[in-house]
């Protein structure tokens, strides 16, 4: 199948999803990110790789953390960064997504960082750019609907590689609202592509997508059983609105069954790391004793995220 993320030479020109990317590209991104870690420790935290280029942060959905880290990453690459808060601009006046893109291309945009509430929106943009012959303009997906959040997936992989060194012996559990989670989907594709032998999904039936086995994932409903002997535990954020429908009875009941407490974490390996894409709901999906405990690597994830986003932007803009 035609993959809009890669050019004819098989190089990454857009980052839309982890799915369909070969292991060599994931490894290239992680290696490049590692080389950028040193930049963040410098007095002058800049490299000139994107000097003269314009990066547009197009956030059709609210975000603080992801947008900020993309902005920092682009600035450390010496790019000009323009933040567009779309909720308050043209689309509110009826302009279509692709009209917005055409206008920004006319302003000589080089790279779009896109977050959108609809799954697949960045694909639509990438295909449009190809159609109008703008292969000099790149798209990085910063989260689309429930579909993908590939830079989060990659920074999670960076974190795992940093602490665990080797993917080939790991048991990784992803816990919580996988159905609505673009992070979970990106993590699953990244983990399986990088050769993790066992990926587990833990949650109630109402929060798990159907046919998880087809994604190469083992499903557990009992969290203690699911965490047994895991090396990595990835907790997912539970949105408050999940409590209003018939998905879950209450935050309290959810926490009792699927909240990560020190007792439940004790089932995992003693050196297991605990990750979370943020923002956390303490007392809903994670106990503060774990979130602030020695096994949590949640803040390093954020730091690694900047280097990973620098790597992604410099690679796609260079191809």
């Amino acid at each position: 199948m035609y993959n809009p993320q890669l050019n004819k030479a098989g190089e990454l020109i857009h980052l839309l999803s982890i799915e369909g990317l070969p292991q060599r590209i994931l490894t290239q991104i992680l290696d490049t990110a590692e080389s950028f870690m040193e930049v963040s420790a410098r007095e002058v935290k800049k490299v000139p790789l994107l000097r003269g280029k314009s990066v547009f942060n197009l956030f059709f959905e609210n975000s603080t953390r992801t947008r900020t880290t993309f902005e920092i990453a682009a600035k450390r690459l010496s790019a000009d960064v323009i933040n567009l808060d779309i909720n308050k601009s043209s689309t509110a006046k009826g302009e279509t997504l692709l009209d917005t893109i055409d206008n920004l291309c006319a302003m000589h945009a080089n790279l779009f960082v896109v977050r959108h509430a609809s799954s697949g929106a960045p694909y639509l943009i990438a295909e449009h750019l190809q159609r109008i012959g703008r292969d000099d303009v790149h798209v990085v997906n910063a989260g689309d609907g429930r579909h993908a959040h590939p830079t989060q997936g990659l920074l999670d992989m960076y974190t795992i590689r940093h602490y665990k060194k080797d993917f080939s012996q790991l048991r990784v559990a992803i816990v919580g609202d996988i159905l609505h989670s673009r992070v979970a989907r990106s993590d699953i594709h990244a983990l399986t592509t990088l050769g993790v032998p066992e990926v587990r999904a833990i949650g109630p039936e109402t929060l798990l997508p159907k046919y998880m086995d087809k994604l190469g994932v083992h499903v557990f409903h009992d969290m203690e059983e699911g965490l047994r002997d895991c090396d990595v535990v990835i907790m997912l954020r539970l949105q408050n609105e999940r409590m209003t429908g018939a998905l879950l009875p209450s935050a309290g009941e959810y926490f009792r069954h699927y909240g990560l407490t020190p007792q439940k974490l004790a089932r995992a390996k003693p050196d297991a790391i605990v990750m979370h894409p943020g923002p956390m709901n303490r007392g809903v999906e994670i106990h503060s004793a774990v979130a602030d405990g020695p096994q949590a690597v949640i803040l390093p994830q954020v730091t690694f995220g900047i280097a990973v986003r620098m790597a992604v932007m410099s690679i796609v803009a260079g191809n």
Binding site: L16, S118, S119, G120, G145, R146, H147, K210, K214
Partner: protein
């Protein structure tokens, strides 16, 4: 006006005809097959050598957003009768609206319009529309298009009322609650792409409810656009029980599956959604066994309404001009013979409608489609007369091209 169609391979599925012969037409009627009737002198002769001559196709579902262009598209696709669902703007819920639509169709004089009246006012599933008045204005049956009746009591009453006059009710079975937030089949692809799913149960629950109400009321029901294996199995059981239930499938659902969504292709968004391979196979088997008619479910959608993320794009595809070549493609892929395949587009929909159409029987209406089964053409926006250029088959080659279409004896299309 006497017309002879010479040397064609005449296929009339209703009468089991498939042979090289001539067809004789006087005014709007077919008068003979094979030998010219005594004293017949042709005013015009049409050479149909190397072509297939079959009854004009009957499409059980086509939306006519811009009526003139869409009727031109119909006859270009060999379709001479078009069943129009009531979900126009405004919905077809008043006799005057139906009257106007039928007259407009007659004025244009291409394909025959067979409107479905709205079952309920505004299609809101609450108050009944004036069914008898709509019938008098030309409506052939009553429908909710693809909007479900949420209130089961309203559905029961509507079916009882329709039964009173022996009107048929056409329903697209889709449970409101299970389908309202969904945008794709709840399956592997939706899970992977993060698209909200519509489970098969949305269809089976609705069919089970409708079938039970048919059992209780005796109302004749035609179930439209079946999408799942389980749904088709329920319908076959109901028919086996002798209930007055028929069904159709959209041609796209016989050829495509959830996998055709690929990377969020908005042209693969349909209502009901494209489902799994096993569903497609079951629908195909049912159609091949003569248990379902095939229709285009023609839904012209403007380019702007498709150039959107998958979940925001309008569902549906253009179909009037693709119905025949896609049905031929299906027949070739499944080994269904040409006579049987054409029956799905002629005799089968005529039977659903209870109208004496879809046949070349002498004495019958001279609706005729003449097509070259070998001719190939490329699907492009320019090649389509329909205003709807939305198709998952764009830039693909079709085999089978309509050469001439006659509606009630008049030449309405010539390639």
């Amino acid at each position: 006006m006497n017309t002879t169609i010479l040397n064609g391979r005449v296929i009339d599925p209703k009468n089991g005809v498939d042979r090289l012969t001539n067809l004789y037409i006087v005014d709007d009627k077919i008068v003979a097959l094979g030998e010219a009737p005594g004293g017949f002198v042709a005013d015009q002769s049409i050479d149909a050598a190397a072509c297939i001559v079959c009854p004009g196709l009957i499409d059980l579902g086509a939306r006519l957003n811009s009526i003139e262009a869409e009727l031109a598209a119909a006859v270009a696709g060999g379709v001479t009768s078009v069943v129009v669902p009531p979900d126009a703007d405004p919905p077809l819920d008043e006799p005057e609206l139906a009257d106007r639509l039928v007259h407009r169709g007659e004025e244009i004089g291409k394909a025959r319009i067979l409107p479905l009246g709205a079952l309920t006012l505004g299609l809101n599933g609450e108050r009944l529309a004036e069914l008898a008045g709509l019938k008098k204005a030309g409506c052939v049956a009553f429908s909710q298009a693809n909007r479900p009746v949420v209130d089961t009591e309203a559905l029961l009453r509507a079916m009882e009322y329709a039964r009173t006059f022996d009107f048929a009710v056409w329903l697209q079975p889709q449970d409101y609650w299970l389908s309202r937030n969904g945008i794709a089949h709840e399956g592997e692809v939706a899970s992977r792409l993060g698209l909200a799913g519509i489970p098969v149960a949305a269809e089976t629950i609705a069919i089970a409810t409708i079938v039970q109400l048919v059992r209780d009321t005796g109302c004749r029901v035609h179930l439209t656009r079946i999408s799942s294996a389980a749904g088709m199995a329920l319908i076959q059981r109901a028919r086996h029980d002798g209930l007055p239930v028929s069904c159709d499938v959209g041609i796209h659902h016989l050829l495509l599956t959830e996998n055709d969504i690929g990377f969020f292709n908005p042209h693969a968004r349909f209502s009901p959604p494209l489902r799994a391979q096993s569903d497609r196979q079951a629908l195909s088997n049912a159609a091949a066994a003569g248990l379902a008619a095939i229709c285009s479910d023609h839904t012209p959608v403007g380019a702007d309404d498709k150039l959107l993320p998958f979940g925001e794009a309008k569902p549906g595809a253009t179909g009037l001009e693709l119905l025949l070549p896609l049905t031929l493609k299906w027949a070739a892929a499944t080994g269904v013979g040409l006579v049987n395949a054409l029956a799905r587009l002629t005799a089968a929909p005529a039977e659903v409608l209870g109208l004496p159409l879809g046949t070349l029987s002498p004495g019958g209406v001279a609706d005729v489609c003449i097509f070259d089964p070998q001719a190939t053409w490329l699907v492009t926006p320019e090649a389509l007369k329909s205003r709807g250029k939305n198709s998952p088959w764009l830039r693909q080659e079709m085999t089978g091209k309509v050469k001439l279409t006659l509606a009630a004896g008049r030449l309405v299309y010539s390639a």
